[in-house]
């Protein structure tokens, strides 16, 4: 084995989280920053997201995915960020030793003072949701279809049914319609769309694509290529209702049934994961349970907006800076955030009480006229909340000065008034 190369900061992933972290890290004066990217181009998933609506918050403009990420790629160039393309990180460990491989550089190891995890997420495949039927060609995840159409220039099919109303699925319903395909239905097992309302309106309603709520695909038909799907209405326990099965002829089924933070490397390093988010447990600097390893963007928790993903990258870069500068890795005082039964996710899951904090919260069912409370230090009335729309609360440092020194837990709750 060759000797390890030294790095101040390794960032895994060059999407909107990783590049924002890299640029911020350079701005903060961190010297040796390397971004590892497994694809042949930087940007993560954004180069294939050619629709607009990105960057409203960060750049005050409705950019396309490629435009958004190109701004970061340019900033990265200006700040001399080293992006290793076509390079796959194979392993990281708790001592922050990273092993990466590429065709042009072979296998290399790096000893890193800090690591920012920015690997993003992957899509839930067919097997994970157990759709019955045959196994023909023509079943794709929505993101795979998006890559085929927008990057490779291939049409996955001509008559389409989409299972799941995640954002990528709804966006692909519109995209494929614009390419001349007939999108026959978007089928959603929940009684509400799982993506943003904006996408429901702009991608489905505006294109007269039916959204069938409380429905699911129960069987895939076709031996060689998809010939159709059977769908059925479901009860509140998601069980198909007898007598509601109908056949829809189509040559393609797209799946948009959830995103999973891609934490395989995090697990190798011993990072503790939150079963609610599928991402790491972090503090307000987005530091994981392993000192010196930070997590941001969709590998931490699946975000609604790319701007937020980049904001998290910047927070993680600040965290990394404090480690590189030598903040001791000793035992930290932590206040745990504990949600009540209406809370689906909270990030960060624990805070020091010594700094300002941005909280990201999701409810686990649609609610109206609710009051959100964080311990006794914060209370806000909110007109409505849905699982698909993250609630963001920024609290300044001084709020926490009201806490008693012995505080170990803060209860987070959403209650309808």
């Amino acid at each position: 084995m060759t000797t390890a190369l030294n790095l101040d900061l390794a960032i895994i992933g060059s999407g909107p989280a990783g590049l924002a972290a890299a640029v911020k890290a350079r701005q903060l004066g961190i010297k040796d920053v390397v971004v590892f990217e497994r694809d042949e181009r930087p940007g993560g998933i954004l180069p294939q997201c050619i629709h607009n609506g990105f960057g409203l918050q960060k750049f005050k403009a409705a950019l396309t995915g490629p435009e958004y990420i190109n701004r970061y790629i340019k900033m990265a160039q200006v700040h001399s960020v080293d992006i290793e393309l076509d390079t796959m990180v194979l392993e990281i460990d708790k001592n922050r030793i990273l092993t990466a491989v590429s065709e042009h550089r072979g296998l290399r190891t790096y000893q890193c003072k800090s690591i920012v995890l920015a690997m993003g997420c992957r899509e839930r495949p067919r097997g994970a949701i157990g759709i019955a039927g045959t196994r023909p060609a023509g079943v794709f995840t929505a993101g795979q279809a998006q890559r085929l159409v927008n990057i490779e220039g291939y049409m996955p099919g001509e008559t389409i049914v989409i299972q799941g109303s995640g954002d990528v699925g709804m966006i692909m319903a519109r995209r494929l319609s614009l390419e001349g395909a007939q999108v026959k239905a978007v089928v959603e097992i929940q009684p509400f769309a799982s993506g943003l309302i904006r996408n429901e309106v702009q991608c489905l309603h505006d294109f007269d694509i039916p959204l069938l709520l409380s429905h699911t695909v129960v069987e895939i038909h076709g031996d060689k290529r998809v010939e159709g799907v059977s769908i059925a209405e479901v009860d509140e326990r998601w069980q198909p209702l007898e007598g509601t099965v109908q056949f829809i002829a189509c040559d393609t089924l797209l799946l948009s049934v959830g995103l999973i933070p891609e934490n395989e490397l995090s697990k190798m390093a011993g990072v503790s994961l939150d079963p609610q988010t599928g991402g790491a447990y972090v503090d307000e600097l987005l530091e994981t349970s392993v000192p010196g390893i930070f997590s941001c963007g969709n590998v931490l928790h699946v975000n609604d907006y790319v701007d937020e993903v980049s904001n998290e990258g910047e927070i993680a870069a600040r965290g990394a800076q404090s480690r590189i500068k030598g903040r001791p890795a000793g035992k930290k005082k932590k206040i745990a955030l504990v949600g009540n039964k209406t809370i689906g996710q909270i990030v960060p899951q624990a805070i020091s009480g010594q700094r300002a904090v941005t909280f990201y919260i999701r409810v686990n069912r649609p609610m109206e006229k609710l009051t959100l409370r964080i311990g006794d230090i914060f209370k806000k009335r909110i007109p409505y909340a849905r699982p698909s729309e993250m609630i963001q609360i920024r609290l300044p440092k001084k709020v926490f000065s009201e806490l008693e020194a012995s505080t170990a837990r803060l209860k987070v709750s959403c209650e309808e008034r």
Partner: protein, 497 residues
């Protein structure tokens, strides 16, 4: 010229022995034949060897504890692990040793374990041991606390059948056997000289001897030579594959109860996932490999009974296969024998554990060929060695460095879940993979937790480039299963400029 006057089907070959079926049994027989002098061929109706029943199996190498005393199947799988281990070395394919732990979940089931031990011993297998709950917990901390006793045996194995099937056929071909793919036998007659004439969709062939190793279709081939007494009973079985993140839950090949409607079996796979099976339903349809909701659910329940910590969210894929078993033999024993009406046709009709028995079945078939009058002479120059291509994902760091040094394409990982590289993808295509599924089963690209979400587009392009076809011509599993339908309306303009 009218259709009736159309040219007769072409004659495509004359052989001493033709093996019908290139599944694992046919492949073992073909490879055994390739050690001998003579002209041999294997006919396979599918687009790739081993993509019928053999692919959809648990891929486990058993000892004869399932086989009744005195049965042919017991005799043939007595030394299965040792035979597979030897072959693994010759064929450069992966064999993983796994120990067996057969559980009794209530006192009444202990008798089942004792019977299994007695069956194994009746075939000369040794080392079977009945163990108590404490030992079970030591061996497998995650099995149900309800387990009252276990039958423990060491040295069974797991393989990945499609890779073995391919290696066996490659080695047979390397030693002179002709492989005819997409060649379906539709009739068997006789020439004036008394040898067999096989009519296929590709043309006619002749052979002095015919081996019927057609798996699910052995009954139909048998009827072509006048053997109407051969019947199969068919069951469709559903199996589940779990994410590698839960592989620590099971280290042994764990069995529970067995019945007409299930085989309770959870075990590691050769590649380190967990495979769970098998819930059965009777079927008459040989091509019905659809999975059903109930099938998935009931299979899952079988597993959770043995290992309560299993979670449905960790299932990465499910599939179904057809298990055939001779219907006319005692206890469903194998029927491996010359035809009643055509003595130079050998029927090879196996059921479970057909994979385990396959190496011994191949030797047994050669003996039956000799009995039927075929001169058996070993040829000089048989090469038992077949080289695979190194798999990056399971290699050590030092081996990985060597692979990249020898071929830099080993540094380009295309399937991130299983760490399959461009070098392996290209190798599989240059060695015969023609479809997405063939690449997948030979390299594992697309078999991981994302199920091809990321590597799919790359494999598609790689197949198109290597085969010199357009992306629209690339298929998942053969004609009619194209992956994409056309180029986009706008055509493709790179946004990179």
């Amino acid at each position: 010229m009218s259709a009736a006057e159309a040219a007769p089907p072409p004659h495509i070959g004359d052989y001493d022995v033709i093996v019908i079926g290139a599944g694992i049994t046919g492949a073992m027989i073909a490879r055994q034949l390739s050690k001998l002098q003579g002209r041999f061929a294997v006919l396979e109706k599918g687009a790739f060897p081993g993509f019928g029943v053999s692919k959809a199996s648990l891929s486990q190498i058993h000892l004869p504890d399932f086989c009744p005393p005195g049965s042919l199947k017991g005799k043939l799988c007595r030394d299965a692990p040792a035979r597979f281990k030897k072959l693994a070395g010759e064929l450069d394919v992966y064999y993983r040793e796994v120990d067996e732990l057969w559980l009794a979940l209530e006192a009444a089931q202990v008798a089942n374990l004792e019977a299994a031990k007695a069956r194994a011993e009746s075939h000369g297998a040794t080392g079977f041991e009945i163990i108590g709950p404490q030992r079970i917990r030591e061996l497998e901390p995650h099995v149900t606390p309800e387990a009252v006793a276990g039958l423990y045996a060491r040295g069974l194995g797991v393989i990945y059948t499609p890779q073995w099937n391919f290696a066996l056929i490659e080695n047979a071909v390397q030693n002179g056997v002709q492989l005819h793919l997409q060649t379906e036998v539709v009739d068997i007659g006789k020439t004036n000289g008394g040898i067999y004439r096989l009519t296929t969709n590709q043309g006619t062939l002749t052979a002095s001897y015919v081996i019927n190793a057609a798996g699910l279709y052995t009954d139909e081939i048998a009827r072509m030579v006048g053997d109407g007494h051969i019947h199969l009973s068919l069951r469709k079985g559903t199996m589940l594959i779990f994410d590698k993140s839960v592989s620590h839950l099971v280290r042994h090949m764990i069995f529970g109860t067995f019945s007409e409607s299930h085989s309770q079996d959870i075990a590691p796979t050769a590649h380190g996932n967990l495979i769970l099976g098998v819930h059965y339903v009777p079927t008459n349809n040989k091509t019905d490999t659809k999975v059903s909701r109930e099938g998935i659910q009931q299979t899952f329940e079988l597993g959770r009974q043995l290992v309560p910590a299993l979670s449905q969210k960790d299932i990465i894929t499910s599939f179904a296969g057809i298990l055939a078993q001779p219907d006319m033999t005692r206890d469903g024993d194998f029927h491996i024998a010359a035809s009643q009406h055509s003595p130079r046709v050998i029927h090879v009709i196996v059921g479970a554990p057909g994979l385990s028995a396959a190496p011994a079945v191949a030797e047994y078939v050669i003996q039956l060929l000799a009995d039927a009058g075929m001169p058996i002479e070993e040829k000089t120059g048989f090469n038992p060695k077949r080289g695979g291509w190194p798999a990056f994902g399971i290699a050590s760091i030092a081996e990985k460095q060597q692979m990249i040094a020898a071929n830099s394409k080993y540094g380009h990982i295309i399937c991130r879940c299983e760490q399959v590289t461009e070098a392996e993808t290209v190798a599989s295509i240059r060695r015969g993979a023609r479809t997405m599924d063939a690449v997948k089963h030979l390299t594992r690209a697309g078999m991981g937790r994302c199920q091809g979400g990321f590597c799919g587009p790359f494999v598609l392009k790689c197949l198109a480039d290597e085969l010199g076809i357009t992306p629209t011509q690339v298929t998942k599993s053969g004609p009619g299963s194209h992956q994409i339908v056309k180029m986009t309306r706008s055509g493709f303009k790179s946004c990179d400029g």
